[in-house]
């Protein structure tokens, strides 16, 4: 999966990929103060593609809000909501709007789920539908936080650690391997990293093609940019 961190104060964005074996569960958000946790499990291609590159994507998210006593399990096939001590299942094939005391949900048929958790976070999960008979690829999900400012300064996770910004500087722009993607040196969190200017896609407006977002790409699973390394974010279960 590719991660994008938009940084409005710098009018810039950072990006990195996290790759591990399919089935790994990562913590994306963990805010112990508000009790919000978002974990995601990856999936691989149906078989190894001819280029030998193993691609992984998120296919299942587990979302918990301890204080609000809410849980969601969102996968490429269905959406399960735990609220008021009971589970309810919804399907991507219907457009649904639910307004609750602590949580609002809105499903746009076969496309997206918008979740607003009271006084904490708002996010969108996109469903990428792939042709069922595709020899390699299968359905996967995207996770976009659109409002996270109410989360505590202690929020962490692969995405969460960036919700309150990150200090960095980029200099020494130089030609990269590909002419249209120059390299540069980034000073961040006490590290000096070789980064590459490129872009990643935001699929919210155009689910099929996406929209390119220019960003500084941090190589090797975001090493140096994320706190610790990717394995520090691996957990054993969605909840």
């Amino acid at each position: 999966p590719h991660f994008i961190i938009e940084l409005p104060e710098k009018n810039d964005a950072l990006c990195f990929n996290i790759n591990d074996k399919p089935g790994t569960i990562f913590t994306l958000i963990k805010d112990t103060k508000s009790g919000v946790v978002v974990n995601g499990q990856t999936i691989g291609d149906k078989k190894i593609p001819p280029d030998g590159k193993i691609n992984t994507y998120f296919w299942r998210f587990g979302i918990t809000h301890k204080t609000l006593r809410v849980k969601l399990e969102v996968s490429t096939s269905d959406i399960n909501v735990f609220q008021d001590s009971k589970w309810m299942t919804m399907y991507w094939s219907n457009s649904i709007s639910l307004k609750g005391t602590n949580m609002d949900l809105h499903v746009t048929k076969d496309r997206s789920l918008t979740v607003t958790l009271k006084d904490s976070v708002k996010f969108v999960i996109l469903l990428h539908k792939v042709w069922a008979k595709h020899p390699y690829h299968q359905d996967y999900l995207g996770f976009y936080t659109v409002d996270s400012h109410l989360l505590s300064p202690a929020v962490h996770g692969l995405l969460g650690q960036f919700y309150h910004g990150v200090e960095y500087e980029v200099s020494e722009l130089r030609p990269g391997e590909v002419p249209e993607k120059p390299d540069a040196t980034m000073y961040v969190k006490g590290h000096e990293l070789n980064v590459t200017r490129g872009w990643q896609r935001d699929f919210r407006q155009d689910i099929k093609n996406g929209e390119n977002v220019p960003c500084w790409f941090v190589h090797s699973n975001g090493t140096g940019l994320i706190d610790g390394d990717a394995s520090d974010y691996v957990v054993s279960s969605l909840f």
Binding site: P1, H2, F3, I4, I5, E6, L7, P8, E9, K10, N11, D12, L28, G40, N55, Y57, F58, L126, H128, Y140, G142, F143, Y144, T145, V146, D147, S148, L158, L159, F162, Y163, V170, L173, P175, P179, E180, K181, P182, R197, G198, W199, Q200, R201, D202, F203, Q205, D206, N209, E211, N212, P214
Partner: protein, 620 residues
Amino acid sequence: ANEAQVEVLSVTVDCTVTSRFAHTVMTSVALNKANVSQEIFFKVELPKTAFITNFSMEIEGQVYVGEVKEKEKAKKQYEKAVSSGQTAGLVKASGRKMESFSVSVNIAAKSNVTFILTYEELLQRKLGQYEILTRVQPKSLVQDFKIMTNIYEPQGIAFLDAHATFLTNDLLPLVDKTVTDKKAHISFSPTVEQQRKCPGCDGTLIDGDFVIKYDVNRGERFGDIQIVNGYFVHFFAPPGLPRVPKNIVFVTDNSWSMSGRKLQQSKDALVHILSDLHEEDYFAVIKFDHIVLPWRDSLSKATKENVEEGKTFVRKHHPVGGTDINLGVLRGVDMLVKDRQENRLPERSVDMVILLTDGMPVSGETNTKKIQENVQSAIGGKMSLFSLGFGNDVDYSFLDVMSKQNKGIARRIFEASDAALQLQGFYDEIASPLLSEVELRYPDNAVDSLTKNHFNHLFNGSEIVVAGRLTDNDLDNFLVEVLGQGFEEDYKAEGQASTLDQEVPYPNEEYIFGDFTERLWAYLTIQQLLDKSKSGDPAEKVNATAKALEMSLQYNFVTPLTSMVVTKPETEETGPLIADKLTEEERQQAERNRYQHVPPVFSSYQHTYHAPPTQYVDGD
């Protein structure tokens, strides 16, 4: 003129157009009413596409005639005049379409002076019409004021419209317009009273542009050929051709220098242009600063949905970073090449890249020569590159050469409130290709000294013009052939050209100007040689320059290679005046100086950001 001490006795603009070739004579007679000698100024404006061919002053029975000389020689010969700065200012840029010619001379008390300026140009057909633009600013009331235009078009006049920016309801009926099948006469001749701004006051209403627009009838598939006095001209713009679908990549500058109004205007224009795409066209949008940001990785069919999404992409994003023209254009070219290779584009369609930039390359490859080489090598003759240079910070000649090297053209976009319209206007001119790889063939043994006869495209509303010399002066007719690639099928047309007998279309008409076809041929040849002198290989450049100079001297045209030396009565003391033809670069430089514009410099990545942040994770 010096207030009431000078009386302008007459101002006459006499324009004759024969088969699009316009010959204009501006005559002004002034009287120094004072009891002492004084300086009288003659200042007129002419289209920048025109070449001055003659200038004379008549003072006390003595005629002083301007002489066209080789520019460098003229400068050496009159070094004294050059060093005292007297060459400056005889011809100056004036707005987008015009340049001004001005001269002053000392006139004895109670004496007359007559100024006569002649210039010629080949009218270009744009968006289905020719335009004759005359700028008139007599500054004071004129005893005898006259604008007269006679148009002779053997193909027949399809429509004609005449208007002026200064025409009030009272002056409107004074525009006399007579159009018959092959001839039009337009005149405007207000009396002194009619010129007055208000009864009894000295101010004149006459100040602005007098514009005539017209088109001719189209009939033959092979076009229309006229043979006069051993020269021929072939006009080709057949009616009823279906447009060829196009695959167009818009490469737009998103760097800092575009911030503010320029970026907004570019966005507005591009959004409008995208709306005008035909559904069978394919398009892509690539923004560049110091990196490139493609909307999508390949071209998309111009369906309603895709166009809307393309527009959303255009509207978004704020300017950042420096200008890497090399990277932006190469990405656009690469996208078209790749889509072609993968058969994603219709076989019979035209590939084009439109580059919009406002600045010099300051990021990535900054050597403009190297960029030209890279682009030419990447394009390899497979598509056309059109460039739009926005504002005064752009190196227009760099874009001009790069476009001409790649089957395209460049256009300057002037920073003003109508910039979005200028951008759309340029696009409209090239939006509808009708034919590609057009070749006009003539019998080898019958013609020589042909102007360019192979054209990459014929666009809707434009016209292809080829002229040449007949090797046999007695030849009365010859066969022509036109070949091209059209939509669905190849285009082929043949026809026979015959000598034009002026007596048939214009009986009882005193002949207009007999050598117009030859001069049209010379004008066209010089223009094309001047182009070649900028964008050909080194040997070609030298040859083209020498030939253009030779012809400019032979036909008395003031071109960028020649100067008109005007000898004044007081030459002994002050030296002669020299009129030069401005190049587009000189015009641009003049504007830069006028606005004292400081080009923005890319120095940092930071600027104000308006969109809310998003942190997300997704697939590729």
